[in-house]
Symmetry: C2
Subunit: 201 residues, 2 copies
């Protein structure tokens, strides 16, 4: 397939062109799962040939991994740790960003988890980085830079709970606000018995 | 590959032969991930030819799905809901069975989750059934046959937390007993704010 002749081909730097192609992939991902992403469609949208796309991304998989990596960055951008606020407020900001993103992009998120779980090492890496980063943000919000093993494990488990609940909360009988309230309060309750005792006076 | 000539071929009924072959698969699964399971090795262990194995399971995938289904049944057998006991004792029995099984068979369990997540519909079905059954057992232990949507969702989330913690609790710094204590107490704490108010007197 060649580029749309009606659309003039614009000369971009290599970095700008890569950024443009990834941006198109991210935009298309909003409305469809990644396995339905067509490289031909992406090239046509960019006004370039399929051959030129493969110049920037040697294989379809390279392009796909670049889009997945950018999607992971976007998710992390929605789940930023605020610099200020109480521990609860900072936990809420991260988990509200995470669960809101997963609910809005449910089909996509599940498709990506499956692609990673299906054994694509690069996609697994993106998810490993995503989960580790979210866990670090939560531990930072809690003021636990060097947590006990069970606290670290509990935060990982609680993030898996947040993910499962965001994915399964389909149909709208539980709102995202209710879900976030439950999760923020739930983390507090889960960790309460693990809090270190105050040092002896 | 033909059967081991030193081993006499025993005539079994079709049901017994299928059971024997699945049993060999389950036994081999204890020490290696399912993708390393060799049909030749299974046939040799059973003292039959590869061709006869394919008589009972037309494709390697049919055999594999039968073994996965049996592994799911085995897991559910380790996570039985006791008929008697307090809600906490009954929850403990189910989650101790589940997390203990996942920890003992970690590599296998992860390989199976990935196979399912990788899009094998039959394996996904086995995991869907597994998760739904465990959630029903927990809700039965809690005396919640008809839970509010958020309670049902929370139990699903808590099971995902149990799974993630059992998988990630590698290396032994958190024992299975500590993990189970944390989870049983955690479910109590998570659901406390969701308990329906007592009816007005």
């Amino acid at each position: 397939m060649t580029a749309d002749p009606a659309r003039p081909r614009v000369r971009l730097s290599a970095a700008d062109r890569r950024g443009q192609l990834i941006g198109i992939g991210l935009r298309l991902l909003v409305t469809r799962p990644i396995h339905e992403l067509s490289v031909d469609e992406v090239a046509a949208e960019a006004g370039i040939s399929r051959g030129l796309l493969f110049h920037y991304f040697p294989t379809k998989r390279d392009y796909y991994v670049a889009v997945v990596r950018a999607a992971g960055q976007r998710l992390l951008g929605h789940a930023r740790l605020p610099e200020e606020g109480s521990p609860k407020e900072r936990v809420r900001a991260v988990v509200a960003g995470f669960t809101g993103f997963v609910r809005r992009r449910r089909a996509n998120y599940v498709a990506l988890v499956r692609a990673g779980a299906g054994g694509d090492e690069k996609v697994l890496e993106v998810f490993g980085h995503l989960r580790a980063t979210l866990a670090e943000r939560i531990l930072a919000a809690l003021g636990e830079p060097d947590p006990a093993p069970l606290v670290r494990l509990a935060v990982r488990g609680w993030l898996a709970m947040a993910e499962e609940m965001a994915i399964e909360a389909d149909g709208g009988s539980v709102t995202t606000d209710e879900l976030v309230d439950f999760l923020v309060d739930g983390l507090d309750r889960l960790l309460a018995p693990l809090a270190p005792a105050d040092p002896a006076p």
